[in-house]
Amino acid sequence: MSANTATKKMNKHVDLTGTSTGYKVFVVIVLILVSIFFLFPLYWIVTGSFKPQLEITSRVPIWFPMEPTTDNYARLFEHPAFLWLFNIVFISGMAMVLTCITASLAGYALAKKRFIGRAVLFTIIICAMALPKQVIVIPLNQEMTNIFHLNDTLWAVILPTVGWPFGVFLMKQFAETIPTEILEAARVDGAGELRTFMTVVLPMIKPGIGALAIFTFVNTWNDYFLQLVMLNSEEVWTLPLGIAKLQGEMSSDFGLIMAGAALASIPIIVVFIAFQKYFTQGIAMGAVKG
């Protein structure tokens, strides 16, 4: 604190934006320190997953695995970890595809069609988005058990994810940027509704679909509460759920848990970094214009 004010006073040099160099240096130092704090858990997961038992339970900090071992991963795969990985990829992928299809169709209609009940429908969607998603999970479970008989299957996680209206809202924001003149022109040229959508609308909302796809994939992967409530048997568990259950059973085997955490988080981080551009664009689009 005192160092901060001191540097501020010392530095008389001020640039055009009114920021002193001292303050800038202070900002960068704080940002780097906070970044280390944010990156540390991830570093600890990855290094921890390669540490032998002795280093895990050590009473002094061991910053880096001295004798790296894949023993933790071997013990992880004594459990059906590959099956759990497949389950979560299937759930996230399926939810992503279905959400993109339904949301781009509906978002286009909401943005570009003038129809009876549009205002009411839009209000309902906005209100639903403000509701706590997790509150409806327990009644959803009852519904899945008693009506659809899908309880304890992967579809019990996929279908509710597709129903969540955020995707429709996001696609509406993107579809609004389509100039109405182009749609009129397509109609004058005699293109039917579906053809207009496929050949005119779809190419124009492609970045939006990209954003929604990555957003849905990451969020579904990490929707722990829904998975916890819906999936009971070991063979339908997902990787995050499996790790959570393992942690409950053997809470002191941190090496095993870290191996699981690494396996559950690295794929999704890679996906995120690869599609970061779409992701940030989608988040910004969902809010700034809303």
């Binding site: 944010f38 858990p41 009473r59 900090p61 790790i243 910004a284």
Partner: protein, 309 residues
Amino acid sequence: MEQNTAAAVKPKRAKKPSQTSGMSRALVRRETISAYCFLAPALVFFVAFVVIPMFICVFYSLFDYSLGGINGFVGLDNYIQLFQDPVFHKGLINTIIIVLVAVPAVTAFSLWVGSAIYRMNAFTRSFFRCVFYLPVVTGSVAITVVWKWILDPYNGILNQLIGTNGYNWLGEGKTALACIILILFTTSIGQPIVLYVAALGNVDNSIIEAAQVDGATKLQVFWKIKWPAIMPTTLYVLVITTINSFQCFALIQLMTRGGPMNATMTIMYQVYDSAYRLYDLGYANAIGVILAIIIAIFSAIQFKVAKTD
């Protein structure tokens, strides 16, 4: 029906006469039919898995519904029991503490980071944005299990570093809630930062430059120009952070299970606890309904305050 159509179309007609002046009722009807065809798949999912569960939630909250099935209509008994339940009181207080600490902290810190990085070069900006988003992407389970290790009384690095060997951070009522809030904070600021960077980048630069030429200080530029311009974003950040803080679940379930002595019990966790440990589904749904109402009130207040500012 027909009159409704005319009323719905009229304002648009006034705005863009060239497009809709020729729009007959038959055309409106055709548009409506095709629009609902496009909407149908999404609406089926939305009604089946969002709207119906909402009604089921309210409906079951009026019943005595436990492991053996529904034992009859009890009216508002679940709600009356709720308001006399000391666990619910504790959960309500903890939830409000979490929201009142986490929401302002997340908003202020993400605004600070956003303003600090939005004018940096593209690489540095996306680096920092990525770093702060990583805990969100990593997932609540992975983040929680690693923190559980970090905070472990004997094997955890925190105690080893600061020399408080054996101190059980999550086992003591005083520190357990603080730890939950801190971890919640790290998993919450990613999205607000992305939003603020985008919003600040959209503020009209020429106004800022004009103000600086006229001798406005940095603080004046911020409060008089940028702050009003990013107000919609702030509002959105407040609302989503509030909803997320209310719903904070994985952290609590995996770290403390509401303990010690309900020190980290929250409304959301009690919903789960009542349903799956106590098998009192009617009661769990009643808590859910109350949680939804509380969140709606909070969001409405934030809208009101932010709009009048």
